[in-house]
């Protein structure tokens, strides 16, 4: 009886683990064109986190972010000078650029693209 119980528990636990593979949240973007070459973790940008607080037009119109993963050549010097992420990440609207680890929060070896959904770089994958 006890063996039966144990195996049932283990089976359900294994099923639970197998059914929930690691997957990025829909619309998460990784920037790693320069980060790791320069000794930092890749940047993880979460669309869900930002769109609760800002409409698309703020970043994709006012800030000038192109709507194509990999098309934006981001440099820390621009951010520090108030361009791109730096229009908000200045310690006023959002945390400042000196809080490195909050944005440079990705695992090593990540490819720059949209994770957790279709890449929009075609051909689609879903």
């Amino acid at each position: 009886m006890r063996t039966c119980l144990l195996s049932m528990t283990m089976l359900s636990a294994a099923l639970a683990l197998a059914a929930a593979p690691a997957q990025a949240e829909y619309g998460d973007v990784v920037f790693n064109q320069r980060s790791e070459k320069e000794g930092m973790r890749p940047v993880v940008f979460s669309h869900w986190f930002h769109r609760i607080r800002f409409r698309c037009k703020v970043c994709h119109d006012e800030l000038g972010f192109k709507m194509r993963a990999g098309a934006n050549d981001l440099r820390m010097v621009d951010i520090a000078n108030g361009r791109f992420c730096g229009l908000c990440h200045n310690g006023d609207i959002a945390w400042g650029a000196e809080r490195c680890d909050l944005c440079h929060s990705g695992r090593s070896g990540l490819i720059s693209r949209i994770h957790g959904s279709n890449q929009t770089l075609g051909p689609g994958r879903w």
Binding site: M1, C4, L5, M8, T9, S12, A13, L15, A16, A20, P21, A22, Q23, A24, E25, Y26, G27, D28, V30, R41, V44, S46, H47, W48, F49, R51, I52, R53, F54, R55, C56, K57, V58, H60, D61, E62, L63, M67, R68, A69, C88, I93, R99, D101, L102, S105, G106, R107, S108, L110, I114, H115, S117, N118, Q119, T120, G122, P123, G124, W126
Partner: protein, 191 residues
């Protein structure tokens, strides 16, 4: 002795029930009822060894409060905005002109699948005109040749749909107007 055996049997049935419940909640049908988001440390892209990770907001904490959707972030973002559950900023600079448009365009008028009623309102509350016009779509109704082939490759509507807005597996959300009915009043025929 007998009551001890009965207790064991009851316990066995209880475990069986719990195991079955664990199994059932893993099915997609149950996932629509109980939404779940992976913690950042387990999403495969955040570094669990990053000490700053605990300072970041968890998706489940933010998204579980918003209207449900079966796909994407499991949030109906249009409903979240329309119902006032979120009020994201429209601009940073005071001088930025905030442009919205309330007009529907009918697309795919000669195709086989249901007509697409494209609503400008739901798009312009989020986006600016310049995000789509004129490089993706010409502003003249009927002037755009839309292709599912291109959309599926991440062009045209596929720049957003399939990446950040609801995915292309949701056919009926765009192909939403039956052909056999009179065309909806007020909507502008496109191509």
């Amino acid at each position: 002795m007998r009551s001890g055996r009965e207790t064991r049997r009851q316990r066995y049935y209880l475990w069986l029930l719990l195991a079955l419940a664990a199994l059932v909640t893993q099915t997609p049908i149950a996932a629509e009822v109980a939404r779940r988001w992976l913690p950042l440390a387990k999403d495969g892209i955040h570094d669990p060894k990053n000490p700053a990770l605990r300072l970041l907001q968890e998706p489940g904490e933010a998204l579980s409060r918003l209207p449900a959707d079966p796909v994407g972030n499991q949030v109906n973002w249009t409903a979240a905005l329309d119902e006032g559950r979120i009020n994201p900023r429209t601009n940073i600079r005071a001088q930025t002109r905030i442009r919205t448009l309330d007009s529907d365009i009918l697309l795919n008028l000669r195709g086989g699948t249901p007509i697409v009623r494209f609503p400008h309102r739901q798009h312009t509350v989020w986006l600016d005109c310049s995000n789509c016009h004129e490089h993706l779509f010409k502003s003249k109704a009927g002037a755009n040749k839309l292709s599912m082939q291109l959309i599926l490759q991440g062009e045209q509507c596929g720049v957003c749909h399939g990446a950040v807005s609801f995915p292309l597996t949701q056919c009926g959300r765009c192909h939403n107007t039956p052909r056999k009915q009179p065309l909806p009043a007020g909507a502008v025929p496109g191509s």
